[in-house]
Amino acid sequence: MIYRKVLGSFVCLFVVAAFIWIIVGNRKVHYLPYYLPCPEIFSVKLQYTEAKLIQLFPQLFYQQPRVLDPKRQDVLTVTPWLAPIIWEGTFNSEILDSAYRPLNLTIGVTAFAVGKYTRFVGRFLESAEKHFMKGYRVNYYIFTDKPETIPHVQLQPGRRFVFVPIKKYPSWQEISMRRMEAINKHIAETSHQEVDYLFCLDSDMVFHNAWGPETLGDIVAAIHPGYFNVPRSQFPYERRSSSAAYIPDGEGDFYYGGAVFGGLVKKVYEFTKTCHMTILADKANGIMAAWQEESHLNRHFLSNKPTKVLSPEYLWDDRKPKPPVIHLIRFSTVDKNYKEIRD
């Protein structure tokens, strides 16, 4: 009797064990961090049409470029990896417009307006309508937790406005860092089909002068206004080696600002994914980089150098006095009380 019961139970045990083995035995073990919010974004493969190259420059009359006559002698206009640095005077808007307009591009802009930052969106959009990519189709993606607080702004034809609902995190650092994830997810779900180029801009800023197709490129980063004239030893890179955003002493090209970055939507998808993963790796180690996602962005752009760099004209801080090298301020911060709006 007992013998039969024992045999029966062992057979059951064996069957269950075999069942488990067959189902999961061959799979590789995954240790996903418990807080990983949307693992599906890491396996999404997006289909893109290949970006069109500049094809035909129609007949245009403009001043002859002279080899012995550099337009800007006071600043570096090409990086050591031969990426252009965009300053006023280095480019001819007409030539660039003549090449880019016929391509029928749509440019996307993401801006985060969470918590008290919703008050800045109105001015941001109004100034963007006056200066940002005039003559092109633009989609504004406003990521917010309170869409009802965003004022209505009249848009030019060919430009539209989309609300993207996101969650409000308790601390401003968390909100800032989660931008990468939110942008990445949004590209995967929506914007990769809608836009060709995507710029990720801070919403607490205002356009003052033209921002045109000279900024379009595969991977575009902007130089932080506070550190463009300073040796790299003084850049506020993350200097703790336990962080994934660590940049050792003696390395580094420029200090890029986290308020402006962009490029081809495919490239933005890739590097926001990488940045988000390094941010999560830091979370797992219980460390937060010195300047949140800006540090991670700098780490990323050190190894994957941008193909176009925007001078501080494209990311200025109005509190700073205008130096002689800056001829034209195009995009700069709005004066605000940081303590008040951040919490």
């Binding site: 073990v29 012995l68 090409v78 480019f91 660039l96 463009f228 993963m277």
Partner: protein, 357 residues
Amino acid sequence: MGITKLHGLAIVLTAGITGAIWYHHPFSQASDQKPTASSEDVTNMNQSLCQLSSLLYPEPLLTKPRRRDVLVLTPWLAPIVWEGTFNRDILNAQYMQKNLVTGVVTFAVEKYVQFIKGFMSSANKYFLAGHQVNFYLFTDNPEQISHLQLAPENHLFVIPVQNHTRGQDISLRQMGIISTYIQSRFQYEVDYLYSIDIDVQLVEHVGVEIIDTLVGTISSWHYDTRRESKPYEPRAESRAAVPQGEGDFYYTASFYGGSVAEVYRLTRACFKGILEDRGNGIEARWHDESHLNKYLLEHKPTRLLSPEYCWDAELSRPRIIQGQQLTYLTAGWCFLPCKPWHNVLMKPFRRDNPSGH
């Protein structure tokens, strides 16, 4: 009842199965166990990027441009490559990440066969040293090519072409030949392709700074002239005509290239223009170079090489030329009968060419 053999067997079996399951799927998560998926992925990414990020080089200073004396960026934001503007280590690291193969196409017909040895030995040494280069040598005299010692990563492919009576016909057919071969062969073998004249010798390293989608070299004879004086084709009947008041730079046909797709489009468009001109009984002033300049005016290059990259040794070197990567061979440079059309290219202000072509 004591422990029988059956009990023993049962215990061993249970222990074995449980142990096997445990080994593959430990259910307890140790608190010090790091989540390996994300950090593993990050490590893998970091490893592949390690090469680039661990490079040490002096920092680029935004308010201290390296070259103040020359234009380093065109109005359409294409970099002009001058000595001092780039860091080859960074570019090499980026190039190697992408696993690219570059090809060089060159023609050695009739008396130009004498330049093969000089070109190949210098190109083997200085052209993209350390990276794989496929040399495609079109010649009418394949037997005459003596054994050439090449670096292990380089390959030489000798392709026979037919001889023609007029030396300059080959220059006009070059474009057609290149486009045909790109379609049939080169597109499968290389990512980037450059066409270089055979009668040049590389005297310094020409590296991956030249690699971009569409690359033209500014002619050393005309880098400083006004556009009215540039030797564009003026006659409106020619397909290579550049109207008055237009023109950026004068590019030399001795060194141009880019991605295989763009070079295909360039050579096909130029060859089409050449054939149409021939049908109308007209020949452009500087032959294929005129057509090249017309094409590059309308399809602006994404990168320009300074005159350092194709310097004519006859010209005295001005101070702006700090590097000198290519120079026309002066040794064995017999005059007009040897290279009628090339000599004319050297000194374009000599209109009447006694070689009579």
